[in-house]
Amino acid sequence: MLPLDDARALVATIPDPEIPAVSLTDLGIVRDVAYDADTLVVTVTPTYTGCPATAVIALDIETELLRRGAEKVRVDTRMSPAWTTDWITPEGREKLRAYGIAPPAVAAANCAGMLSAQHPDCPLCGSSDTSLISGRGSTPCKAQFRCATCLEPFDYFKAI
């Protein structure tokens, strides 16, 4: 049987399928890793209700744990409390920035749905002279901004 600590450490290395710069643990979506009798149960909170990565994430967890010695694996979904970008770890925020995605504003509950009021720092040059291009991006969780200093467009991870 795969020891629980090893299982936790393994889950922490599994990358997000859409944004591989951050792990599932960095994103704060792994709620629990525990044994239910002989089955290893990983409990995950979905990011967006319709995020297409949700099914891939469950498959990735199962595949990785089985490959590394777990015998039976189950991935459970926990809806409540709802995931918020406030659960992204400080390391996760830094990894997003280094990858070119501006991390979400903190205290997400106060700014969900108010994108045009946001001026996230440009992840490329650090300028705060930025403005919204579009509220949606290459994935549902991102918006597109432009930087007036370095003139580059960039992704912003929306606060939710």
Partner: protein
């Protein structure tokens, strides 16, 4: 099906059907919207809505004895309980945006109320969905104002869309004995509060957009399965593949 369902299952189906049918309509924009950003926006909102659909159907699955896929793909037109508004065809970008805005103006206060539901499953789902829908209305409100108060042509198109779609908002705000029973138990918010929030939102934004809702007849029926002529065509497109290949898997 309708006459044997509990008020709870009826409500979950109505919420799920609204989200599914609007998700299907917004998905029709994929590859067709006037600019890339709006193409992506419609497709992404469709994803949110269809994700919410699965959870609404899931809440009622025990009682209905059908999986979310079975509910979506193997029910007939009269068994769908979505409002008339969401099944209206895209026609053009103005109609699609206005339909989205009018739906969002009802959806947001409804979900805000449901987040305080005495039913834990509904409260959990609403707390999640409300955050997504805040982003939906942020976009749809912004665009109907900019296009309504825009050029002569964009104003005319937005006014045509409002004139066509406004009568169907009565179906969004309609209620019946199933709703009353759930309001009494604190499962869903009172319809008067939703209607007041809808009117506050639309009065302000439509004035900013220099658009005027029409007088005249209002339409209802979708919530009880009496749909407009557009619904059958939508279902034919959405359901044809699963019906031709029942049980098929990727």
């Amino acid at each position: 099906m309708n006459d044997v369902m509990t008020p709870f299952a009826t409500f979950c189906l109505r919420m799920g059907d609204n989200a599914l049918i609007l998700g299907q309509r917004t998905g029709e924009w994929c590859g067709h919207a006037p600019v890339l950003e709006e193409d992506i926006a419609f497709a992404n909102m469709g994803l949110d809505l269809i994700g919410q659909t699965q959870h609404w159907y899931g809440l009622a699955a025990d009682e209905l004895g059908q999986s979310p896929d079975e509910l979506a793909f193997f029910r007939g037109e009269r068994e769908f309980l979505n409002t008339l508004l969401v099944e209206q065809p895209n026609i053009d970008f103005a109609h699609a945006l206005m339909r989205q805005y009018l739906f969002d103006a009802w959806h947001l206060p409804m979900l805000e109320g449901l987040a305080g539901s005495t039913h834990q499953g509904i409260a959990d789902l609403a707390a999640k969905a409300v955050k997504e829908v805040r982003y939906h209305i942020d976009r749809s409100r912004d665009l109907i104002i900019r296009l309504g108060d825009g050029s002569e042509e964009s104003h005319a198109k937005m006014q045509d869309a409002l004139t066509w779609l406004w009568p169907f908002t009565a179906d969004l705000l309609a209620r019946d004995a199933a709703d009353d029973a759930l309001v009494a138990e604190g499962v869903i918010p009172d319809g008067d509060a939703i209607k007041a929030a809808f009117e506050r939102e639309t009065t302000k934004a439509l004035a900013q957009a220099t658009l005027t809702p029409p007088d005249g007849p209002r339409r209802t029926g979708g919530r009880t399965g009496n749909h407009s002529e557009h619904m059958g065509y939508l279902l034919a497109v959405m359901q044809s593949v699963p019906r031709a290949h029942p049980g098929a898997r990727w």
